[in-house]
Symmetry: C2
């Protein structure tokens, strides 16, 4: 299942149409997107929907001067496409090698699932607004770690692959790269988490993180 499709060409930007074509060339409608590929979404009103099988996709918005806000991080199982996020004003980027399956044309019973997916996006977007508007930097990092653990950890222990760079995390959480790094390392020093390399993370004290994420106990030391 993993090796059934070849990676797309090494282009950094792939139009959604090309992705659809690639999927349709395989019998199981699966495509593999190289790391750091930007998915370009032409104005055509395609309603094709993809399911992420493996990997990680970020939805982001840009301000005219280049400031970036990642509005959602999508892990395995999540749906995306113009039909879902409308991708109104969003771009999408695969943060690592990502496998997607084209699911639209496969079955019509999909509508209910797409509906559920949109509601999930809305629920997450509103929770994220609360994070961005009212949580401190430490609370944001803790919240993010719990969310990512939920989306990316296997059943084997609490470790998970952090597909986001510090910069990605900053753009997701409304912080700067340096602040993200400081709090991650603070949490490591305090024993809440540990790293393997810079990008594999273990939650050693999930309860502690949840307390911090909820806005309790975390002295503001920087």
């Amino acid at each position: 299942m993993l090796a059934t499709s070849k990676p797309l060409s090494g282009t950094a930007v792939v139009p959604l149409d090309g992705l659809i074509r690639t999927c349709n060339q395989t019998e199981n409608r699966i495509a593999t997107i190289p790391p750091r590929t930007k998915l370009f979404l032409p104005g055509i009103d395609r309603s094709e929907t993809f399911r992420i099988l493996q990997g990680c996709i970020a939805l982001f918005q840009l301000l005219p001067d280049g400031r970036r806000q990642i509005v959602d991080i999508l892990g395995p199982g999540r749906l995306f496409g113009r039909g879902i996020s409308d991708l109104h004003q969003c771009g999408a980027e695969a943060l690592c090698e990502t496998q997607v399956e084209l699911v639209t044309a496969v079955r019509r019973s999909l509508d209910a699932e797409i509906n559920q997916s949109i509601r999930q996006m809305l629920r997450r977007a509103q929770a994220h607004a609360t994070l961005l508007g009212r949580k401190t930097a430490g609370e944001r990092i803790a919240t993010a770690l719990i969310d990512l653990a939920g989306q990316f950890s296997n059943e084997t222990g609490d470790g998970f692959q952090l597909h986001l760079t510090r910069m990605d995390l900053a753009d997701w959480l409304g912080l700067t790269l340096e602040t993200v790094s400081r709090y991650l390392n603070r949490f490591r020093r305090e024993g809440l988490v540990s790293f393997e390399g810079a990008n594999r993370i273990f939650l050693n004290d999930r309860t502690g993180l949840e307390l911090i994420a909820a806005g309790r106990e975390l002295a503001a030391v920087q």
Copy 2:
């Protein structure tokens, strides 16, 4: 149309069920909600949907320690209810006397409209996340004024009623009451807007506000 229904009792908190009952007691299914009424949403999975005819409703989330984030401001024409916003973890509050119409049971052709409404909520929530994560205080205020003008101004000139207090604006924009007041008055001194009383607003220089909202020109003076 405005006087067809009597205001609900003066209680500050109204369960959604009561609102539905009140609507059903009038032939046109309209209810009037007093200012500052909190709409309580019991766990029952009612999918009834309301359309706002007049007034203003805020959807908000609370953190355990009382911090509040308003995740959306709904004006006339917008739909709301458990079926729309799921009201996952949201509360709702009428910011002024608000007239709503119960539309669910009326017609089945409503589904497409509800779908559109959810997508609109998602689009707005993601744009708001970008505002909260990446815009400065002045940019947030300018963006908010333009949004509110769009939702609440009649065709008669650019004036509109500001149903939100400074505190509401702060909770919507991820700021404090004082910062909101400072920037509103700064914009007034600069001739971008003017007030009648504290709560009727005129956009004198919409283009200027749009430039600021987009992140251009606005010296950080405070």
